[in-house]
Symmetry: C2
Subunit: 407 residues, 2 copies
Amino acid sequence: MNQNLTTDRQTFATHLECSITGERYEADQLHGLSRAGRPLLVRYDLDAVRSAISRDTIEARPTDLWRWRELLPVRQTANIVSLGEIETPLVPLTKSGGPNVLVKDEGRLPTGSFKARGLVMAVAMAKELGVKKIAMPTNGNAGAALAAYATRCGIETIVFCPDDTPEINVREIAMQGARVWRVNGLIDDCGAIVGKGAAEGRWFDFSTLKEPYRIEGKKTMGLELAAQFGWKLPDAIFYPTGGGTGLIGMWKAFDELEKLGWIGSERPKMFAVQASGCAPIVRAFEAGEEHAERWEDASTVAAGIRVPKAVGDFLILRAVRESGGQALAVGDPAILKAVEAAAKQDGLLLCPEGGATLAAYHQALNTGLVDEDDKVVLFNCATGLKYPMPEAPQALDRTQPIDFDAL
Amino acid sequence: MNQNLTTDRQTFATHLECSITGERYEADQLHGLSRAGRPLLVRYDLDAVRSAISRDTIEARPTDLWRWRELLPVRQTANIVSLGEIETPLVPLTKSGGPNVLVKDEGRLPTGSFKARGLVMAVAMAKELGVKKIAMPTNGNAGAALAAYATRCGIETIVFCPDDTPEINVREIAMQGARVWRVNGLIDDCGAIVGKGAAEGRWFDFSTLKEPYRIEGKKTMGLELAAQFGWKLPDAIFYPTGGGTGLIGMWKAFDELEKLGWIGSERPKMFAVQASGCAPIVRAFEAGEEHAERWEDASTVAAGIRVPKAVGDFLILRAVRESGGQALAVGDPAILKAVEAAAKQDGLLLCPEGGATLAAYHQALNTGLVDEDDKVVLFNCATGLKYPMPEAPQALDRTQPIDFDAL
């Protein structure tokens, strides 16, 4: 039906590189972290891409994630495992945001979150490279996306999540065919279990940035933005930052697009948004550090960004600094207030992490980091329907006379 | 950004017609039911549309609901109220369905359900026609869509829902700025309250098919299918049928597309899917009746199709019969089994009403109403995330030695 999913197209991945040493690794092989213990980045023959296709080629294709095939690592069309990865819409947030504020509503992706982008790519590559069993630590949404895609192509999955992960996420993961375990700890405690099992050869470790292909999937957020903005980029991007894969991925996307000559050298200011109760990147940014220390006693309503230690910390910090942006922390009250404002004023139900970006935008506006004329994109990383909402207790007894004036 | 939302385009609505008497009503006026108490249908100057645009015109536009502007009733671009009404993807259901089974995943629309299609149109028309206050009875999803769009353009809304409506729906409605009341009754009991207030001039009645524009929004499901299938249509459509607006709307869409010369005269078999615990259309279909009696003591897990009495009953029955399809009832156990099969085998989480269409498909296959070679579309009308899922209680104590073999 969708030609992106059925047409054989060349991919131009040539090799992978260690993100810290530049050491080269072979393409089309199974990889975890580099020998230096850092994420691997996929590299492409961009000169060849430029000769093969143009922006018009892309625009003539159906507008989904797979239209970017030449800039993605999957070789065989048959290995694409898809649940319908649409291009997510940009929704104006006129009243609670401002006249130039757009929300990229990632809650419209399969399994209701932007985790689908990374996992659809990583699972397709796992399929291509013959992986039979995958394990992953998750705060919820990544596990759900992994479960859905892995189930769809017959790969076995085991998922570990903190024991306070919302019930809906845990059930969704199980419903979609994964074995899911609640662990009395945080996501990095879960990650330690996954790592131990992987070291024993029990499964492949799908932790954030520990396999190289999730970032290629998340990269499509940047590619899409470029196309949606007519091959320019917005002035600022506010991105809820836990592991930071998406921020790193977008920064990589912009670089590749410039090398292709499809965009110019201008870049958005990148704002890495964290919660005050778990803000390791903000602390490192402010201290001028290249790496971020683990954040102890992490706590926030925005569970998706409750990541005490990110393996790609230096890549996040580097992108934010190069862009002229900042790392910003917002408190839980501001997050909840922003979620309510967007819903009650603009009819858009954000997730708490999306609310954090709206709160951070107002903070940046108040402190002059951006101004009202700036074209701004906030990332709503998941559907607000997955998160608790306030009670609405009003009831009416229809067997009694109804006082219409009181309704 | 999206030119569909910013470009002024001509619309070709000429008038409305009573669906039972054919009596003519003026366009661009506020209407409820016809004088005969039946739904009004919007009519277009299709000859003029044919002269003005072609299939290529449509295909060159962004793929959202508003690309169909010439076949929609909204006159002024400024009255479009949008939360990003994307074209919903077709997702193959290979294992739990079959090689030719596609799910149209309507859960990707704003507020997570296909109700967004009808309500985005009805609210835009309400805005265009100066409505200030709207009331509606709902089983949940329609109320959420109404709340979101009405809030977005500043129209006041009051929503009444059965008191066993899932908590998530009630909270979503309230969160998005509507006043919501739980009523000790079913949706038609709620409808009676809305009707009474409307008769007193307190608000405008947005009940299913009681205002004429929701059907025009739902019609876009049929328009999209035609475009997605390359201007042919699938062999069969399984549609979860409560009020039936979508089924009626698709049938109208196919008729308009044929008159435009954009599709031929072939039609899918239309299967109206109901739950065994609330199957008024099935009973009327089997009895050869033109209208359906109210179903007493309605009960099903698929609350969205728990509609005891549909004001458009005769339009549903007429479309199903003309198409050579059938009205089919499936039991709650079959519905839940189908939801589980789609999730566990294909990684796609359906809503119960979507599960009902999968169960009905297998029933139709077993009884020879369709065969495996038929290209089939099942409508998943909402994201499965809005519905209860089984518990997943497994827990792991990380402070104790972990038995990896037992994971």
